[in-house]
């Protein structure tokens, strides 16, 4: 078959048009409701059934035609970039929203949706969604992290579940053998996942209530120095095929203790039965207290959406009015605490054993990253933590640099407000 020159050009032009129209915003397919078309984005959850569940919720909403996009890959980066354009989502879940997104007017004010129910939301996760007295995202579920330990391995080594950071360091050393390491804090030695947790354990904060650096204190260097001791003692498992968020290393016996999330609980329970317990991150020093990081993906409305009102109505229906769906989303597929305290209290699955301990730790010792803890502050701190843990860098010197950087960042965001 021969293709004429005109035919070839025609085909090329058609191809050009097709590729030019390749942008898929998710607004044009699926969805069953009447009214405006809404595009809703979620990050890809690891738990089976979650995708079908959120599509089912969207299909059940009749006042708008909601289409769900399930997005694998670097979701935070994808949404951050999409919010700069008109082709982004109308409603989306966000690991934030960040202060820059709020100050940049990229997300809509959702305060009015909380009328009469604000006090029922877990304050630890609602606070980072609140800025200037306005609420910018609806917390979907509460996620928390804790220390899993294998009871039999601790008993064999004659080790008690650690209640202080010093005890954790000693226990990890005693539990380390040729085949099993004492503790798994992630393949980077804990720099990424621990974040501010050791600082809270030392009785400090990332940012104080009046907006100042909360760890300009010798206790911070002391606590972080002990994390380095774990590394220097070779008590840490490093280079596991699956990272801290996956309980594989723990259930396979590669480590006696692992820092992971509440979501790992069903797997651990299934594999180990009763042979495990959970703890908060142990306190350090006389002013210290146990510490548990909590966080929440929030549902937000894009300020660029042409259907902001419809988007807010949909989110109110899904994340504020539909109690059954919130409970289903939190507990039927993975294992999370509902963001509404009334739902968390009545949830059968959270009422006993390690799950009940986890809920109690969240209430008693939970802390979320404050909104003023910007991504630039976080990466400066994480870099310093990595150098302290792995390179044995001086915690005092490293923290001094971080304090300077965080002060600059706090100054920058305050100037904008």
């Amino acid at each position: 078959m021969t293709i004429s020159r005109r035919g070839l050009l025609g085909a090329g032009a058609a191809l050009g048009l097709l590729t030019g129209c390749g942008s898929n915003t998710g607004r044009d397919d699926g969805g069953s409701g009447n009214g405006p078309k809404l595009s809703q984005w979620y990050h890809q959850y690891g738990e089976q059934g979650t995708e079908q569940a959120v599509k089912k919720y969207a299909a059940a909403y009749k006042k708008a035609n909601v289409t769900v996009q399930w997005r694998p890959g670097n979701y935070d980066e994808q949404t951050a970039a999409a919010l700069l354009t008109d082709s982004g989502p109308d409603v989306f879940e966000v690991n934030g929203p960040s202060l820059d997104q709020i100050q940049g007017k990229q997300v809509a004010d959702l305060t009015e949706l909380f009328d009469g129910v604000k006090d029922d939301f877990n304050p630890a996760v609602l606070a980072p969604k609140t800025y200037d007295g306005r609420i910018w995202g609806i917390p979907q579920v509460v996620d928390m992290q804790m220390l899993y330990y294998r009871k039999s391995l601790l008993a064999d080594a004659g080790v008690q579940p650690p209640k202080t950071l010093d005890e954790l360091v000693d226990a990890a050393k005693k539990l380390t053998s040729k085949k099993t390491k004492g503790l798994f804090l992630g393949n980077d030695g804990g720099a990424g996942v621990l974040g501010g947790t050791p600082l809270y354990a030392a009785g400090l904060e990332l940012v104080t209530a009046d907006g100042k650096v909360g760890f300009d204190d010798p206790a911070a260097a002391r606590a972080l120095g002990k994390i380095h001791r774990l590394y220097a003692d070779k008590s840490l498992l490093l280079g596991a095929p699956a990272d801290w968020s996956d309980p594989s290393a723990f259930v396979q016996g590669l480590t006696a203790m692992q820092w992971s999330g509440l979501w790992a609980l069903p797997t651990v329970q299934k594999e180990l039965g009763d042979d495990f317990g959970v703890l908060p991150f142990p306190k350090d020093g006389s002013a210290g207290k146990p510490s548990v990081p909590v966080g929440a993906y929030a549902a937000a409305v894009s300020a660029r959406s042409k259907h902001q009102k419809a988007g807010k109505d949909f989110l109110k229906w899904l994340w504020i009015d539909s109690a059954d769906r919130q409970e289903d989303f939190a507990l039927a597929y993975g294992f999370h605490i509902p963001a509404r305290m009334s739902l968390a209290k009545r949830a059968e699955k959270l009422s006993k054993g390690a799950a009940a301990d986890a809920v109690r730790y969240t209430t008693d010792h939970g802390h979320a990253e404050p909104l003023l803890w910007t991504p630039a502050s976080r990466s400066a701190y994480q870099d310093a933590l990595s150098r302290i843990i792995k390179d044995g860098a001086s915690p005092d010197d490293e923290l001094r640099k971080v304090v300077r950087k965080v002060s600059d960042e706090l100054g920058r965001v305050k100037k904008k407000s």
């Binding site: 935070d76 820059d100 940049g104 990229q106 393949n187 498992l237 976080r378 990466s379 792995k390 390179d391």
Partner: protein
């Protein structure tokens, strides 16, 4: 006559516009779309990036807070950025000579191979077709994971060695072994083909003359005949290797990043700028300033290197 004259004028005007046999027209039909693409997807973003670099552009591409050279001074004072340049330097010092030596050695081996030359050429070239992402994940999860059942650790175990957390240990910095070997495996075959082409261009009469003059085959012939004759190929290969090293991103990112970020060691400039501009920070002004600085550094290094090697001098003379 009165009716033909305007038609002729019209035809002449069209010829001027479209050229002889419509060559100008066809030139624009074929080149135009690519030129348009280049403008829209390369030069406009490039110009926009330079524009952004003078503004405080957090979470916006249409900023209004002009900061002059503030982003540039911030970036140059930024320890993380300067560290990333050191990472690149260390990486180049490893990868450029290693790839050069390995690909030249492979080319010499394959060139001398009398039987199944095409087979060996294909075998060594095949990794070049593999994605950097896939190769990085195989290296990270199967060969160089830090537990006892990783391939490298299993082999070490046979000889009584301890397990090594290849990507998580900074003292000694074993992660370089992982990063360098994956890139070596991926690119040595491609450069081998370039050297093979160079070897095939060397005239056999040179070797015959050398044999007549008493040159011993092997090292002496390689040093005095083969290596000097490969000068042009070597210059091109080194230039490409340095530019490729500057653009390193995929294997670093996939070997060392996790959901919580990226460790400060082995973080080349592109990875750092990715996190600054496109990560959660979304500091597009600072990221753009870094990108401009990096482009300037690449330009200076490339021009300097080309001058040093005398690229194009022979042709000019």
């Amino acid at each position: 006559m009165t009716t033909t004259a305007p038609r002729e004028q019209k035809a002449t005007g069209r010829r001027k516009l479209w050229g002889h046999q419509n060559r100008t027209l066809w030139f624009w039909v074929f080149v135009g779309p690519f030129l348009l693409g280049l403008g829209v997807f390369t030069y406009i973003p490039l110009g926009w990036s330079v524009y952004l670099s003078f503004f405080d552009a957090h979470n916006t591409v249409t900023p209004d807070d002009f900061v002059g050279l503030g982003n540039y001074t911030d970036m140059l004072r930024n320890e993380a950025f300067t560290d990333s340049l050191w990472t690149f330097l260390v990486f180049s010092l490893f990868i450029v000579p290693a790839t050069y030596a390995l690909s030249l050695a492979l080319a010499l081996m394959v060139h001398r191979q009398r039987r199944a030359q095409a087979f060996f050429r294909s075998v060594f070239f095949l990794p070049a077709a593999c994605s950097y992402v896939v190769a990085a994940l195989i290296w990270k999860m199967s060969i160089f994971n830090g537990v006892r059942f990783g391939l490298a650790n299993t082999v070490l175990g046979w000889f009584g060695g301890d397990q090594i957390a290849w990507l998580s240990t900074t003292d000694p910095p074993w992660y370089w072994a992982v990063i360098v070997t994956v890139r070596l495996w991926l690119q040595a075959g491609f450069y081998m083909v370039l050297f093979l082409a160079g070897l095939q261009r060397i005239s056999p009469t040179l070797y015959e003359a050398a044999a007549v003059d008493g040159a011993r085959p092997g090292w002496q012939v390689f040093r005095h005949i083969t290596f000097p004759q490969l000068r042009a190929t070597s210059v091109a290969v080194v230039l490409l290797l340095v530019i490729n090293a500057f653009q390193a991103f995929d294997e670093f990112y996939n070997l060392l990043s996790d959901s919580r970020g990226y460790p400060p060691y082995a973080r080349p400039p592109l990875v750092y700028l990715y996190y600054t501009a496109l990560g959660q920070g979304q500091n597009l002004g600072l990221g753009s300033a870094g990108a401009v600085l990096l482009a300037l550094i690449i330009a200076v290094v490339t021009v300097g290197q080309a001058k040093w090697f005398g690229l194009g001098r022979k042709e000019a003379e």
